[in-house]
Symmetry: C2
């Protein structure tokens, strides 16, 4: 281990930012369902902390759009409405298009190779109809493109939005036909990356996301009509 590595500042975390991550995990992974009340006392007990740092974390998550705070009434997991979706997707589209352009400028051969590798694994999961694994690898590819773009602000903004719609995106894994189409779009994404064609990548990413949007939107509408209780 080099001096530089050994002598880097000791990472210290506060309870509060540990909790931001943990509670975000509960929300994003769906352990806490949309609309559900966030049980402050219970979480304090489970995490073994007092209310102060937990409440700080909830406020941050609320400003991120994952949690809804109502004065004197506590926190609930934010519900995703069709209107939310219609707002979020175009913004993600613009961000992903930008990511595509930047990535084509900055990406290294190694990074391309890594993405290709993940892509191959993802196709294998598709062929085996292993949806959760497919979904995971799919997300990973988009993360890697973002990373290759080399813009921290872009990554932060994108992933904040991505988290908000993550569960809906997963739940809405629609028809087999759509799944097949998604895989073929991914093929195009990879080849645009390989040829470092920024414009092409931007446009296929946008298209890909737009298709996803329609599928998620359809699912969400069916949900809203199905479960009338708010």
């Amino acid at each position: 281990m080099s001096f530089a590595e050994q002598a880097r500042p000791i990472e210290r975390r506060t309870l509060y930012d540990e909790l931001v991550e943990r509670v975000r995990g509960l929300v994003v992974e769906g352990a806490l369902q949309p609309g559900e009340k966030i049980p402050e006392r219970e979480l304090c007990e489970r995490f073994g902390v007092s209310r102060t740092p937990l409440r700080e974390a909830l406020k941050v998550l609320a400003s991120d759009g994952l949690v809804q705070l109502t004065p004197n009434r506590g926190a609930t997991v934010a519900r995703l409405t069709v209107e939310d979706l219609e707002d979020v997707f175009p913004v993600m589209g613009a961000l992903e298009a930008l990511a595509g352009e930047l990535a084509c400028h900055n990406i290294t051969d190694e990074q391309i190779a890594e993405i290709q590798d993940v892509h191959r694994k993802m196709v294998a999961c598709y062929e085996a109809r292993m949806l959760p694994e497919y979904f995971q690898l799919n997300q990973r590819i988009h993360e890697l493109i973002l990373e290759a773009a080399g813009n921290r602000t872009l990554s932060a903004q994108y992933s904040s939005l991505a988290q908000r719609i993550r569960r809906a995106r997963f739940m809405a894994n629609a028809s087999d036909a759509r799944w097949k189409q998604a895989v073929s779009e991914h093929e195009e994404i990879i080849s645009a990356l390989e040829s470092r064609n920024g414009e092409a990548l931007a446009s296929i990413l946008k298209l890909h996301l737009n298709n996803k949007f329609h599928s998620v939107r359809k699912w969400l509408i069916s949900q809203e009509n199905g479960t009338r209780k708010g």
Copy 2:
């Protein structure tokens, strides 16, 4: 007053979200300078609140990028580096381009008229070389375009970034030549809006922002070289 207006829920605010706004104001307006330590105790006294809600507010502002929190060492106003700027501007460009496209689809004649009105006032301020007023109206026009786009997520993301660079943007109000150019770019923005030409608006907004970027960047670099103290 209609029933709908009269019967809307009574607005209740918590100290915490009042403080988010107030402290954000101090940071954005420059009452607290970049890099400066945020005096927790003093702010508590000035606002007449305890540390709990203030600290909650600081955490939200930190997640927004306006404040930097260092464990056991408290909060400072975030410094804007050239790297930050280089990350933030392209993202704002993408968002503003999207706003332009959406605005052209959705804007009403009344909204166009309002923007034209603000624009005329802005030009008057330019001619009178009233920089602060010009700056204010300039910002207002961009806000109105965002509003016309009718996408809350877009507005939120954009304004979060805009606030981060607001002061630098103001300070960097560069040469008279650039100022003149900026006004003429605004003329083009207005006419693209009038003709509801989304693509044209997107591209002129992007160009406008890019020019601004270079001028802010130049100023920021001169700052960094001038005041060596961190």
